[in-house]
């Protein structure tokens, strides 16, 4: 069991054994959550601040519940309405918060790399809750845990990620994580929504859903942002649903036991047919939300252990 990281900024810097360690711990938290076993001693006396510079309901709630279940004092800061509007820079905001001596900082920011920048300026553990189009590591981890529990393993699976890959941090983190764990990753979507240089990512790229979904074990749908639908990237919502929306017909190309995932919030009738989303035999969308809490508990637990160790060493050195 090893987990050396001091921050969770992305999947890219993690070693496969660190991912496995985190998922193992999350797995047990998931079971304990179901049984109602509390762990209020893990983060007791620690302060967790959730800083969301971008709207989020589910991720923020998930981090808040995770922190509270482990006994942390959790504080939410809606940064959109705060001093940012008054012209304070990100660095100053970070330094101000750092002076309040938090232990865990959960940050979402609309700019790629902003959470990395912030992590350089504070001396607590930073968790990236999504930065621009860069990474969303806890989402990839909860997806991985969901897959592992449904399929019994997290390697040698064929996994299709479908939709707006280009603007999706969820897709980036998932490509990275699933690749590290030695799965075959396929990307399916219109070429206007594929990032540049994608052929160098070690993935297979498809423009046709039927061909791309053939015999896959997992179908991962992505949310299509409303602002991308107006003719800039795709001609229209209805043409997108016709060609790339997941319905029973397209899903029939996947393996019979393939699971369907979506990071939420869903646009029913745009990227996914409502009936598929609600099909309890195929859809694991609710389970993903449940695993989200467990994964975030595990991440904060491991980071807190490393933080205590680091502070202990600093105290000895001082």
């Amino acid at each position: 069991m090893t987990f050396r990281a001091n921050h969770l900024l992305g999947i890219e810097p993690l070693h496969p054994t660190e991912i496995t360690t985190l998922l193992d711990l999350a797995d047990s938290y998931a079971d304990h959550n179901r049984k109602g076993i509390a762990h209020r001693d893990v983060l007791v006396g620690m302060t967790q601040i959730n800083m969301f510079f971008e709207n989020s309901t589910r991720t923020q709630a998930s981090f808040e519940i995770a922190g509270k279940r482990l006994g942390a004092d959790v504080m939410n800061m809606g940064m959109q309405a705060s001093s940012i509007k008054k012209g304070e820079t990100l660095i100053d905001t970070a330094l101000t918060l750092n002076a309040m001596r938090p232990d865990l900082l959960v940050v979402r920011h609309p700019q790629s790399g902003a959470v990395d920048l912030l992590a350089q300026k504070v001396n607590c553990a930073v968790l990236n809750a999504g930065d621009g189009k860069h990474e969303h590591p806890t989402q990839a981890l909860l997806d991985a845990l969901t897959i592992r529990r449904a399929k019994g393993r997290l390697h040698r699976l064929s996994i299709a990620i479908c939709g707006d890959i280009s603007h999706s941090r969820v897709a980036r983190s998932n490509i990275m994580l699933l690749g590290k764990m030695e799965n075959r990753v396929r990307l399916i979507g219109p070429p206007t929504l594929m990032p540049s240089g994608i052929s160098e990512f070690g993935v297979e790229v498809f423009e046709d859903m039927a061909a791309g979904l053939k015999d896959v074990d997992v179908v991962m749908m992505l949310r299509l942002q409303k602002e991308r639908m107006d003719g800039g990237f795709i001609p229209s919502e209805r043409e997108y649903f016709h060609r790339y929306g997941l319905d029973a017909d397209k899903l029939s190309h996947a393996k019979p036991d393939a699971i369907v995932m979506h990071p939420g919030p869903m646009n029913r009738g745009v990227e996914i047919d409502g009936n598929i989303a609600d099909d309890i035999n195929r859809s694991v969308i609710q389970e993903q939300v449940e695993m989200g809490v467990a994964v975030r508990m595990a991440a904060m637990d491991l980071l807190a252990v490393n933080l205590r160790k680091k502070r202990g060493q600093e105290a000895i050195m001082a």
Binding site: L117, K133, S196
Partner: protein
Amino acid sequence: MTKTLFINARLIDPVALTDQSGALLVEDGRIVENFDDSPKIPDANVIDCGGHCLAPGIIDIGVKVSEPGERHKESFRSAGQAAAAGGVTTIVTRPDTLPAIDTPETLEFVERRAQEDAPVHVLPMAALTKGRLGREMTEIGFLQDAGAVAFTDCDRVVANTKVFSRALTYARSLDALVIGHIQEPILSEGAAVTSGKFASLRGLPGVSPMAERMGLDRDISLLEMTGARYHVDQVTTARALPALERAKRNGLKITAGVGVHHLTLNELDVADYRTFFKLKPPLRSEDDRLAVVQAVADGLIDVISSMHTPQDEESKRLPYEEAASGAVGLETLLPAALRLYHAEMIDLPRLFRALTRNPAHLLGLDAGRLRAGAPADLVLFDPDAPFQLDRSKLLSKSKNTPFDGARMQGKVLGTWVNGTRVWENGQ
């Protein structure tokens, strides 16, 4: 009559393209004679170069001095001192100040400030269009009379082809040099890096390198229409080179430059969102870098410049997309360019052809040569001396260099402007 004799020098001649030992006699601010050996000149003040390189002083086209408007970023005094320390004897300043240098009156302000404060030659450029807005041409004639050596809207492209073609036509009638930025503006909008795997990994908006060729193709067509004298500020991609070569072969009056950062760094240097590496145009792939270095060695790209762009900490300590573009370069231009020499990609005379002779030729200056009659603008440097760059020691007011902590080779030992020493190492 003051005579200075430089003996025991390795003379880098960018005209004859030679690199040989010899001596150089300077009298009253001008080069008088070259020698193969060390002659005895009784009344001359002798400087022993210790076998180090003596070359014409660098002529740097496209230096931003942040006067007027942002003197806290760079003044004529600080830029001039940085230039002298970097072996740059002529800085050709950009008009992208606040306000833009687009009237004879602002140009005169700049010239007066430069005269008072800078120890090196300062030649100002003026904006091609009023306010650099791309709508109406500036008073090109008046500005030329007031001393503007070239006309440019800097990193803004005159997107309106009608406005641009008329400005080019008018400039041609005055034989004025126009300098353009060739990145197709709409495709480049919002881009922070070059598109590709790195851009996608970092989740940053990228621009295809093809935007450069599109812009170049447009401008070449306009040159065919107008016959103007045109210099491309920065050619940074392999795909733009064939078009440039064709245009030159077809006899168009076109030349091209490149910034030293694009010759020595690539997109991967941005690494974990290091904003000091954010440039305009963005850093390119390694393949592009190598192609552009080759083009400099072959003479297809004429000019290397620092594209010196001072930015304060506040404008750089931001998330990558929001951070300002540009890097300072006056003091690192020579050691950075020498990386190409040490990598055996170019020899010293050809390197100095791009740093001195070609820019002089472009601007109609008699500098940039080691010949009798040329002004004694000289740099003495040790191309091999190693050092580690510490940005806090830069003389520029702004310290935004991508080379902080980098191991470099090449130290300027002395810089002379019109025969007067303006920099001595250790000063």
